[in-house]
Amino acid sequence: MSEIIDLRLFATLQKFNPVSPDTFAITPGVTVRDMLEQLGVPIEKAKLIFVNGLKKDLDVTLKGGERVGIFPPVGGG
């Protein structure tokens, strides 16, 4: 059984966004790390991970219904 999350990959990671990122299907219990690996996202680029607006790490598990944002920090001025 799968659940839906609202996934957003920003900046350089945008190209890894699935077709309908706002209704992305996951298996409940999956970690953000596993999900990103399945999408082909280079893990070292996924520095900022936000679940429902809170900073989390790669090993946080998802159960479905979350808003997940992945952001590679930028440094330009």
């Binding site: 957003r8 920003f10 900046a11 350089t12 945008q14 680029k45 520095k47 900022l48 936000f50 607006g53 809170l54 900073k55 944002g69 952001f71 590679p72 920090p73 930028v74 440094g75 330009g76 001025g77």
Partner: protein, 286 residues
């Protein structure tokens, strides 16, 4: 002396109306300059005394309604150090000068290059190869000659940072490299100065406020010893002028909030913007 200043101010103040019809007393640039000359003090001091008497320097008339004369006086008595005078720093410095932050310290060791012309406010064709901090100081003086401007054509380093930022009420991180961002954070925290830190790349940018006791940049970029080797995503995204201007404007809004002690919405938070789809999200870092 004080009485003479008040008397002179009352004499040059003229009644005017805001666009909504409300009346106020105004002092023109010429009035300020004349009194500064007569009384042997700086134009900024004249404007501060005027605001004390509820007389509005006309250059700040459109700040009123959103700010009180007391707020404007607080801004005029404040000092912000802008570190990096390129894309973010150019717009930040100019915006702060226009809104009336009274003292600006401008720090940048670089000179303009042709590739800066797409986004750096103070870069012009004529100023290629010229120092950014000098261009910034010249521009600020032409926009608002009452601002006390100090500029330093050098890079911020552990050895000079403490001295360069001394006396600031806020530091503005407008830098383009991580090691110097951490250097500025360390110096700001040691000196007890809040720092507003902004960064851009392509259509994206982020902004946060770091107080002396906060964990700050490591919450965004990881521990400093690892982060200094991190290549920011901007290296593969370039730098777009509308992103730079948007993030610089947000940085100024935050700086002014901190100075006026209204609030600091971005402390321990990260405002992320992505102009590809107009995302504006504020996320909790702790």
């Amino acid at each position: 002396m004080k009485n003479k200043r008040i008397e002179s101010l009352e004499k040059v103040a003229t009644p005017r109306k805001f666009p909504d019809g409300a009346t106020y007393r105004s002092i023109s640039m010429a009035g300020t300059s004349q009194l500064a000359l007569e009384l042997g003090v700086s134009a900024r001091e004249i404007d501060i005394s005027a605001l004390d008497r509820d007389i509005v320097p006309e250059r700040y008339a459109r700040n009123m309604k959103s700010f009180t004369t007391r707020d404007q006086k607080t801004l005029l008595e404040s000092c912000v150090t802008v570190v990096g005078n390129g894309g973010l720093g150019g717009t930040v410095a100019e915006t702060l000068a226009r809104i009336g932050v009274g003292s600006l310290i401008l720090i940048d060791g670089d000179s303009f290059e042709e590739s800066n012309l797409n986004r750096q406010l103070f870069s012009t064709e004529a100023l290629i190869d010229q120092p950014k901090a000098v261009a910034a100081a010249d521009r600020i003086t032409s926009v608002n000659a009452t601002i006390q401007v100090t500029h330093h054509c050098c890079n911020l380093e552990d050895g000079n940072a403490h001295k360069l930022i001394a006396g600031s009420d806020v530091t503005a991180d407008c830098l383009d490299n991580l090691p110097t961002r951490f250097t500025l954070q360390k110096a700001s925290q040691t000196a007890g100065i809040p720092m507003v830190s902004a960064a851009v790349g392509g259509h994206s940018g982020h902004l946060t406020t770091i107080f002396p006791e906060d964990r700050g940049l490591e919450l965004i970029f990881g521990p400093p010893e690892e982060a200094v080797n991190l290549k920011g995503a901007e290296q593969s995204l370039g730098n777009l002028p509308f992103t730079v201007t948007t993030v610089a404007a947000l940085e100024c809004a935050e700086i002014v909030k901190i100075i006026l002690q209204k609030d600091s919405p971005l402390r321990n938070r990260l405002l992320i913007i992505d102009l590809n789809d107009y995302t504006f999200e504020t996320l909790r870092l702790v």
